[in-house]
Symmetry: C2
Subunit: 301 residues, 2 copies
Amino acid sequence: MTRYHPLMHAPKSIAFIGLGIMGLPMTGHLLKAGHKLILHSRTKSKAQPLLDQGAAWANSPAEAAEAAEVTFICVTDTPDVRAVLLGNQGVIHSAFPGQIIIDHSTISPTATREMAAALAEKGATLLDAPVSGGDLGARNATLSIMVGGPAPAFQTVEPLLHLMGKTITHCGPVGSGQLTKLVNQILVSITNLAVCEALSFARSSGLDPEKTITALAGGAAGSWQLQNLGPKMLKADFAPGFTIDLQQKDLRLVLEAAVQAKTPLPALSLVHQLFTSAQSTGGGHDGTQALFKVLERLAGR
Amino acid sequence: MTRYHPLMHAPKSIAFIGLGIMGLPMTGHLLKAGHKLILHSRTKSKAQPLLDQGAAWANSPAEAAEAAEVTFICVTDTPDVRAVLLGNQGVIHSAFPGQIIIDHSTISPTATREMAAALAEKGATLLDAPVSGGDLGARNATLSIMVGGPAPAFQTVEPLLHLMGKTITHCGPVGSGQLTKLVNQILVSITNLAVCEALSFARSSGLDPEKTITALAGGAAGSWQLQNLGPKMLKADFAPGFTIDLQQKDLRLVLEAAVQAKTPLPALSLVHQLFTSAQSTGGGHDGTQALFKVLERLAGR
């Protein structure tokens, strides 16, 4: 049983920076739980529904975080987080001892460690906490959240994370959340390719591919990707749960981290190249299941 | 609910050819259900426990099948099945109208269609019915059985197949069982590689790889391979559920069939090459999870 920190029900002063497709619903859960929120985002209009519900607005990351016990960040890539934390009007300029900063973006583990060291000089603690589960998981508060950083800081914010996610894992020291998310992306991407090749072969061999999924999904061939993306591939439903462009950003992070870890990833590199093919034909905004189209194109179909 | 054929409880006259690690326990289930069995195998001594329980022995496939309403075959590769069916003392020489022959081996779909055509000239029906679930599935009668061939013949033998397996699927015309099994092997093999790359990266990055599996297995990264083979890789438990040598035989069948279907399978080819690396260093008798050793060797570990 999860033991919650006694502060779970005490309203906290919270900053949230980045109100995109993920950050917006996540902020809503914190607000609903009665916490005091101050927001900042590149586009102020996105914050309006939350401002109408009583959240406050700040004109910069530094201003948002200056009185916040906990500051959440949910942006896209490493340079975005760097700007929010270390830029001219970055969080570091108002950082204070005991402050906890939680980064939900998926970014470089190495850059994460560097930024944590910079914040530590002001006495603040950075937790890396990338999520999986997509915008649906953000809306339904069913995200998986993979957290790196010191255990005491993790325990302090764990009740807040439970407002936004279902599976909250403390993975190890700072950077471990990012590394775990990268492992997730390796599994997700190569298994996606497994499903594409299997269904491309099934269809071209004259099998009924829907029946084939049903026959195989319960056994050793089974996976979340087969069960969830397989039927979409067959119906040519390429609407994004998660876009190829975003997945490519994550795979770039994987490949960089793999070089540092001296670990060759041949199949992951292959998926990265095939996604590049999807992007080169204008498919970057499709969902990752559109990898199936690349396989079909390879087969001249 | 599965509707069983009225003949389910009527004892049948059955031949079973091939008493290997799979065939032997499968035969046991048929015998226990009260059917009249006549056996043939390359090594007679393997049949002895079943002969002691009342099964009869035949000196050739033709002799085993000559009075059998249903003849089961469970051998290894295409040439083995060809010898059993069309060889000098093959089943075809005693085949008779209405006879049903069920081949549980995983072999070429094209060769299966050719042999079905040859048997059809004697009025006999060949069903291809490869299985998945390994020797454990054979012993516990929990196999998945993928069947190709005419529906009436399938319905006649379905009750017998339920004595040996749990998920029995009629996949389509003759050859469809083999094709479905090949789709299974595509999924199983590439997903296996996904798990190997993910855990190789996790370990070399300094993560706790067991904890990483726990954090990710319930989400979009989840698969049977991750849940079942992942922990074995980390414990260096390479005892075979299914050997790399046998998997390579199946992947050769996949690659041949893929050429015929004009469908490139880049990741499947990659797995095939990496398994070749395992074989070239004496690892052919390891379980398929020993693909992890190849990844670790690639990384110089």
